[in-house]
Symmetry: C2
Subunit: 404 residues, 2 copies
């Protein structure tokens, strides 16, 4: 499959994170001639936090991770992720597969099963050949290396057209801590193959409660602010491990917080940039709403509107559809107080198209690859930024024909 | 444009409704060489009820109709509808256009302006050449005829590929009353050209409060249960006129109620059958939900899911995406209690695909033009039926390229 036109030029150089080793192998869960199983082994002292899909039909692995997240245990741990089969909606057999994988990994790695966090991404509703994962564990364990994070990023891809990674280095009290993250996702989510999975590692030291609080807070401003098609995966998982191996405590450190949020936003944007069929990266900025919740409603209504997204695909500066999306959002809105801009270009104000608006200029703007839709609701202080992509023929090709 | 493959074989024969006369002319609002303005003139004694879009950015005509709906006035009345320009998001000038049109129609027809109900459908945000409507009024008035309802149905079309009509005849106490309705819509709604407009006429006698109550109640079970793309128009309008000219009072008459609901459902289905790019007519039946509201949430989540709709377009029996949509709906759900059927074919139960499920049979079923997705949530008594269509390349063609 051709790489998305919105992909970064190259996969970034990711630093070694002290206390983490990675491996990726071909387990043959479904794909042939590519890696489909990745392991991140985490040293003694590691704190693990997680954020998961809110789906009522979430997968067995997600439920298992949720059970294991929290508490003060800082023993060794592992993240084990396969692509090719999501083990979702596979009934009791799916739960048993997760238990079997965790038990085998615990034995192979000498890590307590309560500290083995697994994810599965791929086809939904088909029995997962978990024995292939179990059988691959010795080879996977032997392959562990502190520089294999890029191989890990590739092993978790499904319909992704490029591997996704980001890193940060922060100086705290004269000492260096590092963060590296990898993600997969294409279509914010598609239950077959485009589940969003994110794994972030740092050698900083931080307790569970602080790490979890930060992760949840930043998720709401990053991964929860992207949408490709408004559908929600049964398997979405974000796990973060802080190994503490640098010896540097970052509790309450604002530089670390900022760096983590920026890294999460970077990965979130990469997921949108690999949105199924995407040819445009779209930022929707809403300000002046009655409150932040209303701003989010408006931004998401615009970002999820098939009519807005097809207009962008057609490079049509169809601001009328933005007005429509504002109207249907359920947020408080006053037609005559709305101001709409494409980038810096004033489009509409005072309840009508602006007298300064030139359709040809707007049409030229829409030919760009990065589109900003800026709305001032003119009512209050509520703001929200959301990122999405356009809706193209390719999206339909991918999703109408996927299983055949 | 080719007629939708889901269109009825022919436009139905609609009966004369005593007390209503219709006309349609070419006013040249935007289109050339086709009618674009229709009038329904309603006799003394007519009750008018209406249901309107809930959009916060609804059009000037909708706001004006809302102001005029209600009360006990049963004088003469008129519905005046143009296609080609929606007069939505046109600021103060839009409001003035509506006032000018109503004033001119009042003078031409000798009907109080407070009883002139107008609708406009077409491009959003462009100044409407309302003088062309005003200029056409004498010709329109001269053309009034009690058999021109089919011409009226054609004049309100925009991206519709066929005119939509339905009728019913009911015997009440040995006397006959008739109902006839026309509708336009293609894409449940698209703010440019595919607003949903519905006009229903009966010669039965019924007071405002009863008529409005019935109309609102049935709308919730018919027009509010269809979706093409989840977008909500700024102009959606449903108006019903009961002229009373038959002399038959139908207040509380269950045969009339049933006939009206069936007629509204018939028109609603025709709107879906003309959904932009539609090739499949899809009924989503949800039962066993915790309550009706939850059932509606699940049904709408399935009917609006781009992943479900593209799978149907691809004739892929991708039941995993239905599970996904249930999960994201926000309704109470238990994976292990869900039962999914395609038509009568059992697909999944007890948290997994059924042992009786044969993929080839399901694939054959999906090749049909009429698809039923049936879900039993296994939790309670909540039910909801919703109708939609598939999401195809043609939808993107229509909406990406419309204005160019």
């Amino acid at each position: 499959m051709a790489v998305s036109p919105l992909a970064p030029a190259a996969f970034p150089d990711l630093p070694v994170i002290q206390g983490v080793r990675f491996a990726a192998v071909e387990a043959g869960v479904r794909y042939k001639n590519r890696t489909d199983l990745m392991l991140a082994e985490l040293c003694e002292g590691t704190t693990v936090a997680g954020v998961y899909t809110t789906s009522a039909t979430r997968s067995a692995a997600v439920r298992d991770c949720q059970d294991k997240t929290g508490g003060v245990d800082q023993g060794r741990a592992a993240f084990l992720v396969n692509s090719g089969n999501s083990n979702a909606f596979t009934g009791q057999a799916g739960d048993e597969a997760v238990q079997a994988i965790c038990a085998a990994a615990a034995e192979t790695l000498g890590i307590d099963a309560s500290r083995i966090f697994t994810s599965s991404t791929g086809v939904i509703g088909e029995p997962m050949k978990y024995e292939r994962i179990v059988d691959a564990l010795p080879k996977l364990s032997d392959a562990l290396s502190d520089t294999a994070i890029d191989a890990a990023a590739r092993a978790i891809m499904t319909t992704d057209t490029f591997p996704k990674g980001a890193a940060a280095e922060i100086t705290v009290d004269g000492q260096t801590v590092r963060i590296a993250g990898i993600a997969k996702g294409s279509g914010m989510i598609a239950p077959d193959m485009a589940t969003m999975l994110v794994y972030i590692f740092t050698d900083a030291k931080i307790g569970y409660r602080d790490l979890q609080g930060m992760l949840s807070h930043f998720t709401d401003r990053t991964f929860n602010c992207i949408t490709v098609d408004s559908d929600t995966s049964t398997s979405d998982t974000l796990l973060m491990a802080a190994t503490g191996a640098s010896g540097v405590d970052v509790t309450g450190n604002s530089s670390f917080n900022s760096a983590l949020e920026a890294l999460m936003l970077n990965l979130a944007h990469q997921v949108v940039r690999d949105g199924e069929g995407a040819t445009k990266f779209v930022e929707v900025r809403v300000s002046g709403a009655a409150d932040d919740a209303d701003a989010r409603k408006v931004a998401m209504a615009i970002a999820n509107s098939p009519l807005v997204k097809t207009a962008i695909a057609g490079e049509d500066p169809n601001w009328g559809r933005i007005v429509m999306a504002v109207g249907k959002s359920g947020a408080e809105a006053d037609r005559d107080k709305l101001t709409i801009r494409f980038g810096d270009m004033l489009v509409a104000e005072n309840g009508w198209v602006s007298s300064k608006y030139v359709e040809d200029d707007a049409a030229a703007y829409m030919k760009g690859q990065e589109i900003v839709i800026d709305l001032d609701m003119g009512l209050g202080e509520g703001i929200s930024n959301v990122w999405t992509c356009d809706l193209t023929h390719r999206y339909i090709d991918i999703n109408a024909d996927y299983r055949s």
